[in-house]
């Protein structure tokens, strides 16, 4: 995931005249490392593209729009997985971002100094928990909780919406969205908090001296100043939700179909790859289709990054802060 933060436009310093061997070596080394990134990315794309070729030949661009995924008949399409990926990530953002912002504002602006440090550590610790642990917890704690209480309650109150109708499977699309929301909270809140802390103190002082209340000063002077950084944090969370594999595979129910109901099992791009990666001999249409899903995943992630960058450039002026 690329940070959509604005970077400084620092130029490389002019080459020193009496450069030593050490300098040259350092320059060559770091240059090679920088170049390696490009080579790695190119290799990855080329290898994926070559392996996906059988599938691309057979289905063309229809692959993206087809809902069929039938290994027995060699029919493959990516639409159910694109749908599952985008919808679970969207649920994660809607549920996770407000909570994350609340945590970030509390830690950065409101909480007493004595608990700020422990709270900060705690949030960062959560961000470091491996996703398989979230998956386990989701499977044994969250799934029964949602199936017994939350989902029936949602069906009872909002059951007139088609998305809350139908059989409530214990592992479903909604569960995956909720677990993703929990997983992105540490990342989004830690990065937004950094963005809030980067706001100069005089911004707050100025707002307060003009008679603003605490909330007004946070809203006017801090949040608006840091929105580029916060937006970056949200995109980072989206990136995590988007590519998350292990925890999602464990709680989404793995059905290769688009269901209107959120309580039906579904599948994301990464979970179908994790499920079927061991199937399919080299060169087969099935392996090609699985690899092509990987390409689609990369491509969509790339497009989201580009979009996020454009958003930042387009809507945020040069003057505002955020992270440098």
């Amino acid at each position: 995931m690329v940070f959509p933060f604005r970077r400084g436009t620092r130029r490389a310093l002019p080459h020193p005249t009496g450069s030593s061997w050490g300098d040259l070596l350092f320059q060559a080394g770091s240059g090679a490392a920088g170049f390696a990134i490009l080579v790695l990315l190119a290799l990855l794309a080329v290898v994926l593209a070559i392996n996906a070729l059988p599938s691309f030949r057979a289905f063309g661009f229809g692959f993206l729009g087809s809902t069929a995924w039938n290994p027995v008949r060699d029919e493959f399409g990516a639409l159910p997985f694109i749908y599952g990926t985008l919808l679970t990530s969207a649920i994660a953002l809607v549920l996770g971002v407000p909570v994350s912002l609340g945590i970030a504002i509390f830690v950065a602006e409101l909480c007493p100094g004595s608990i700020r440090v422990p709270l900060t550590y705690l949030v960062e610790l959560l961000a470091a928990v491996p996703s398989v642990v979230y998956g386990l917890w989701g499977l044994f704690v969250l799934v029964p909780l949602l199936t017994t209480y939350v989902s029936p309650a949602l069906q009872g109150t909002l059951g007139f919406l088609p998305i809350f109708q139908g059989q409530i499977y214990d592992r479903n699309l909604f569960t995956a969205g909720v677990i993703l929301a929990i997983m992105i909270i540490p990342t989004v809140s830690a990065v937004s908090r950094d963005a809030l802390l980067a706001v100069p103190q005089h911004q707050r002082e100025a707002a307060l001296s003009l008679g603003a209340t605490r909330w007004e000063s946070i809203r006017i002077a801090v949040l608006s100043y840091a929105r580029s950084g916060i937006f970056g944090a949200v995109m980072l969370g989206f990136g995590r939700a988007f590519g998350e594999t292990m925890a999602v595979t464990m709680v989404i129910g793995n059905r290769n179909a688009i269901s209107v109901s959120w309580f039906a099992p579904a599948q994301t791009l990464s979970s179908i790859i994790a499920n079927s990666a061991r199937e399919g001999a080299a060169g087969s249409l099935e392996l090609g289709a699985i690899v092509e899903l990987g390409l689609v995943l990369m491509l969509v992630a790339f497009l989201i990054n580009v979009f996020a960058r454009l958003m930042v450039w387009r809507f945020l002026g040069k003057r505002e802060g955020g992270l440098e």
Binding site: P71, L139, Q167, D170, N254, P265, S276, R278, E279, A281
Partner: protein
């Protein structure tokens, strides 16, 4: 990196220098260990290295292979490594010559057999796929038929108190709850056997879904591995799923009696599984033949359980074809192990793990096959 007050500089050269030393230290230790290990090996300081045979594949056969591995190591000193990577992966790896032997529940398909005519198929054990369910308060074994299970997995039958189910279970009151269908989400020999049976039991299932290690299920939710499906069934009242016999026994789950070809409702166990194999044993191909059509599902015989399967080992007929690593001694060890595995002692040990012993005729067929295995054209078993 430690975070302190907000305005303190976060870059601390001293700290990062210390981190660098730690990294260098760790790398040095790893290098020393690796070099020492390599030197010990080169100079033979570690003693003669024992023969190791590497296999992988069917996760169904994994508990059996681990038990056999321990037993065989104590007996002969030969180390057998077996990884439960799934049947599809086992076949692919042995075809790529990355394994000494492969394990699979689904036989090589016709194409794979034509492309690898010297890859021998050796039935090593037998298993049963059970139809497990979670209906609190109901008996541990209700009656079901192939067509009913097929309709449940097609989404045609959606309630437990469906008339088709209640009529064959007189005296049992079924709840009106929805049926929650569970299946394997990964590539699985268990799925192959189950769909093979349902395709025989229901023409609609054969046309709409078909048989395979991964199929397009019209309804339900998927979990990985046998244990995953077992957990999924246990986790939701009204759930139904297909799981290997050993797993339902270990998890004390309820599982159905299935109506067999002769019309009796049969509980899956060692005897009914062995009966299914015995009824098909007469018509098996030779070890180097095409096994793609072999199936012991829906077997004839009044006591045969209808969803039974062989689990196979795949071994090359001529073993001196590996690019590296295969020696005369290792080839001999592999053949000796195969001979031991299909023999009485190993088969009896398998029974205690709920793998049914091979019928005598299948053991005879296996021994004939194993005798054809050669190294540089010389047979390895007298």
């Amino acid at each position: 990196m430690k975070r302190t007050q907000e305005n303190e500089p976060t870059l601390q050269p001293q700290r990062s220098r210390r981190g660098l030393w730690i990294v260098i230290g760790v790398i040095a230790v790893v290098v020393i260990i690796v070099v020492a290990g390599a030197l010990t090996n080169w100079f033979g300081l570690g003693g003669p290295s024992p023969i190791q045979l590497n296999g992988a594949g069917s996760s169904f056969a994994f508990p059996l292979m681990s038990a056999w591995s321990t037993q065989y190591k104590a007996l002969t000193g030969v180390q057998i490594n077996y990884q439960a990577t799934g049947s599809g992966a086992g076949i692919n790896a042995v075809i790529a010559k990355n394994l000494d032997f492969g394990g699979t529940d689904a036989p090589l398909d016709a194409t794979q057999h034509t492309q690898n005519p010297t890859l021998l198929t050796i039935p090593e054990s037998l298993g049963a796929v059970t139809v497990a369910y979670n209906l609190p308060g109901l008996p541990a074994h209700i009656n079901l038929t192939g067509p009913i299970v097929a309709n449940i997995y097609l989404g045609v039958t959606t309630k437990w108190n469906d008339a088709n189910i209640t009529t064959i279970n007189p005296g049992i009151t079924f709840p009106s709850t929805s049926i929650f269908v569970q299946y394997r989400s990964d590539s699985s020999g268990t799925t192959f056997v189950f769909t093979d049976y349902l395709s025989k039991a229901s023409a609609q299932f054969a046309a709409q879904v078909g048989k395979g290690k991964l199929v397009a299920w019209p309804v339900g939710s998927g979990a990985p591995q046998n244990q995953g499906v077992a957990n999924a069934v246990k986790g939701q009242a009204g759930a139904i799923g297909y799981v290997e016999l050993a797993y339902v026994v270990q998890n004390s789950m309820s599982y159905a009696k299935i109506k067999n070809a002769a019309g009796s409702y049969i509980l899956p166990d060692l005897n009914s599984t062995a009966a299914a194999a015995a009824s098909a044993a007469g018509s098996l191909p030779a070890g180097n033949g095409d096994w793609s059509q072999v199936s012991i599902t829906n077997a004839t015989g009044s006591s045969s359980y209808p969803i039974a399967t062989f689990t196979y080992l795949l071994v090359y007929q001529e073993l001196n074809i590996y690019p590296s690593g295969m020696t005369q001694a290792k080839a001999k060890a592999l053949v000796d192990f195969l001979r031991w595995a299909v023999d009485n002692v190993a088969q009896t040990a398998a029974a205690s793990l709920t793998y049914a012993p091979l019928p005598a005729s299948v053991v005879t067929l296996d021994v004939t096959t194993i005798r054809t295995i050669t190294f540089n054209g010389v047979a390895l078993l007298p």
